[in-house]
């Protein structure tokens, strides 16, 4: 009997049962202070190794891309000409928009107070579910803040804020839902993460118009995420499993593993 209590199986069953109970009751907030301490210990090492490996990965990519530089350069020149023309048109529309806003007494669009943050780690299972940044509660970061790159491309939202670090839940995370719309015809719906693999634009009414190539931006519904942040473009449109709604696959312009710096929207000015 005494032998049984010291044997391997008993030890495994007791410890495993303890952890199963811990997971079942999931006292997530209970571990937050310990998580915060662990994050502080790991932070300097992760920061150095992330930036070093980012440099190594970039250099490797650069060496690989030397052969394609000529073709890419030609392609970029053509794209540049198109964008210059588009930019001129948008500038014209912007001034027209400002005049109309003034005439209709509309408030100006939001400008954001941004804080730069460096990425220090990512989802260890490589599922593009989250990334960790080196800004935390001491920098004024709170849960729910939006995280962007290039001033308006949405990366995700802040969740789990530690003292000096915070976790950004990406749009591809299956727990992520964001209210979105198409910028072309204001078709509204919800962008949901697809198991770390992509983003699905869901809950689109059958009567609403949506087409491949439409640009998807945040709708601002709910107030947590500002309106107009770019999410991606529609790649494919299909009917939902129950046939009640339309769904669209969103192609994101972001490659999360290529990001080093992101910006937190702290407030709208």
């Amino acid at each position: 009997m005494q032998r049984f209590f010291v044997n391997k199986l008993f030890k495994v069953v007791v410890v495993a049962s303890f952890f199963v109970l811990l997971i079942a009751f999931n006292p997530y907030n209970f571990f937050n202070p310990i998580r915060s301490v662990a994050a502080i210990i790991f932070l300097p090492f992760q920061k150095i190794s992330y930036s070093v490996s980012f440099g190594v990965a970039n250099f490797g990519e650069f060496v690989q891309s030397i052969g394609q530089l000529k073709n890419e350069n030609e392609k970029l020149q053509i794209e540049n000409q198109t964008l210059v023309a588009k930019n001129a048109m948008l500038n014209d529309m912007q001034s027209e928009n400002a005049i109309l806003r003034e005439q209709l007494k509309l408030l100006p669009r939001d400008k954001y107070e941004l804080t730069a943050a460096t990425i220090i780690s990512q989802d260890p299972h490589g599922m593009d579910n989250w990334l960790e940044i080196d800004k935390g509660s001491v920098d004024g970061v709170v849960n729910g803040m939006s995280v962007v790159v290039s001033s308006s491309v949405l990366v995700g939202r802040i969740q789990d804020v530690g003292l000096q670090s915070a976790r950004v839940v990406l749009l591809t995370n299956s727990r992520s839902t964001v209210n979105v719309m198409t910028s072309q015809n204001n078709t509204k719906g919800v962008a949901k993460g697809e198991y770390g693999l992509g983003i699905i634009f869901d809950m689109i009414l059958q009567t609403d118009a949506i087409a491949v190539g439409d640009e998807v931006v945040t709708s601002g519904v709910g107030g947590e995420i500002p309106r107009g942040l770019y999410v991606g473009s529609v790649q494919e449109v299909r009917s939902s499993d129950d046939g009640l709604f339309q769904q669209a696959v969103i192609s994101s312009p972001l490659k999360v593993s290529k990001l080093q710096t992101v910006f937190i929207i702290k407030s709208a000015k």
Binding site: L22, I23, F45, Q46, S53, V56, S121, P124, Y195
Partner: protein
């Protein structure tokens, strides 16, 4: 004691590598799990009793740093340590000959157990078990992950063996 401290340092840096390096340098979106493979190698080399608590402790640390429910990796690691000790007591598990087949078998088991547990926890959290297989990953992804893990396991095994030899 000295050995445990060195193992702890190795596992600490493995967690740093896993969370901040592997994803960046991996040629595909799927990455291996160096912490899991170190635990597997440690269990083979050191056996159940000397590696059990270290595996459980670093399982908890990995859970804390990896933002998953505390206990998830700890359960996976302790099951791996038990599973390995169960087989290595009965069969010869060495780097060479039939032992290599056992190594491969352990890597496949550890990869599937880890993915299965993590997918179960997400499905449990979302209260939607239809999502289980999607979270688990496609066969192609699992195959690539096993391939990476075999590579990481061999490195881990050689490193830990060398450490043990020098102590």
């Amino acid at each position: 004691m000295k050995k445990n401290i060195i193992y702890a340092i190795v596992l600490f840096f493995a967690i740093v590598l896993q969370t901040s390096v592997l994803k960046l340098i991996a040629p595909t979106s799927v990455v291996g799990d160096i912490v899991l493979m170190l635990v597997l190698a440690g269990a083979i080399i050191d056996g159940f009793f000397s590696f059990f608590w270290l595996a459980v402790f670093f399982g908890i640390v990995y859970d804390l740093v990896g933002y998953v429910q505390v206990g998830s990796h700890a359960i996976v690691f302790l099951l791996i340590v038990y599973f390995v000790s169960f087989f290595s007591r009965r069969f010869s598990v060495e780097l060479g000959g039939v032992g290599l087949v056992w190594f491969f078998f352990f890597v496949v088991f550890a990869t599937i157990l880890s993915n299965g547990t993590m997918a179960f926890l997400v499905a449990f959290d979302l209260q939607n078990f239809n999502t289980y297989f999607k979270e688990f990953g496609s066969f192609k992804n699992i195959f690539i992950q096993i391939f990476y893990n075999v590579f990481l396991f061999l490195i881990s095994f050689v490193v830990l063996k060398k450490i043990k030899k020098h102590l």
